[in-house]
């Protein structure tokens, strides 16, 4: 498992798009309707070469991508150091439309957060604090509960939900 950068330039982004389209078709779903809001944002970002910003994905050992997201590290008002921000987190159609053991969902979330923590140590993208954007009330409800359990993770100094963001500070 690894969090990898996807880009149009090296072909990894169109490969992901093709793989997820195939997963939608296999599930009997319309690929053009899957995660439209996510792709409206990530398609141009994957085509751009921006410093400290990009599209990232959780890639399993078998090469399959389970989760994608947008990541950027930037200075923010009220923060002494740059903050790593994670947005547009979206799981694969295979996970979305399939019926899986609970462990599959747990692993997808754990691997996403593990990858984010690793990325937060990167010389280019690194930050002591990272934030995950909560796009809907359902996201807020889930991660508000999850934040209590995440607060017990020794690697994290603070975990809290403020507005539409889950805030995590590394220990």
């Amino acid at each position: 498992m690894a969090l990898i950068n996807l880009s149009a330039g090296d072909g990894s982004w169109p490969a992901l798009r093709a793989a997820w389209r195939a997963q939608c078709v296999a599930a009997g779903e319309d690929p053009d309707l899957y995660a439209q809001g996510t792709f409206l944002v990530l398609d141009p970002l994957a085509a751009a070469q921006e410093r400290r910003s990009g599209v990232y994905a959780v890639r399993r050992d078998d090469g399959q991508i389970d989760v994608i997201c947008q990541v950027n590290t930037t200075p923010l008002p009220g923060h002494p150091e740059p903050v790593l921000r994670v947005r547009m987190v979206t799981v694969s159609p295979e996970i979305d439309f399939g019926v899986h053991e609970k462990s599959r969902y747990i692993d997808a979330l754990a691997d996403l957060f593990l990858g984010i923590v690793e990325l937060s140590h990167d010389p280019e993208m690194g930050a002591q604090e990272f934030k995950l954007h909560l796009r809907s009330p359902e996201d807020f409800n889930f991660f508000r509960v999850a934040s209590r359990s995440l607060a017990a993770v020794p690697k994290f100094k603070t975990v809290s939900v403020h507005g539409a963001w889950l805030h995590v500070t590394r220990a």
């Binding site: 409206l40 969902y105 690793e118 796009r135 809907s136 889930f142 995440l150």
Partner: protein, 51 residues
């Protein structure tokens, strides 16, 4: 991070998310915006951005 540190962190994260899912139910996670099939809700909440 060392391989051991990564393995320990992964276990801690798995435990945390397992607790969260056990508390709210798997359906609560599946109703979130992480799932692309819920994008209709996202578009409704952000009509200008998703237009």
């Amino acid at each position: 991070m060392t391989s051991q540190q990564k393995a320990e962190l992964r276990i801690a994260l798995q435990t945390a998310f397992a607790e969260a899912i056990d508390t709210v139910g798997l359906h609560a996670l599946k109703a979130s915006s992480l799932f692309g099939s819920n994008d209709v809700a996202y578009k409704a909440a952000h009509p200008k951005r998703a237009a």
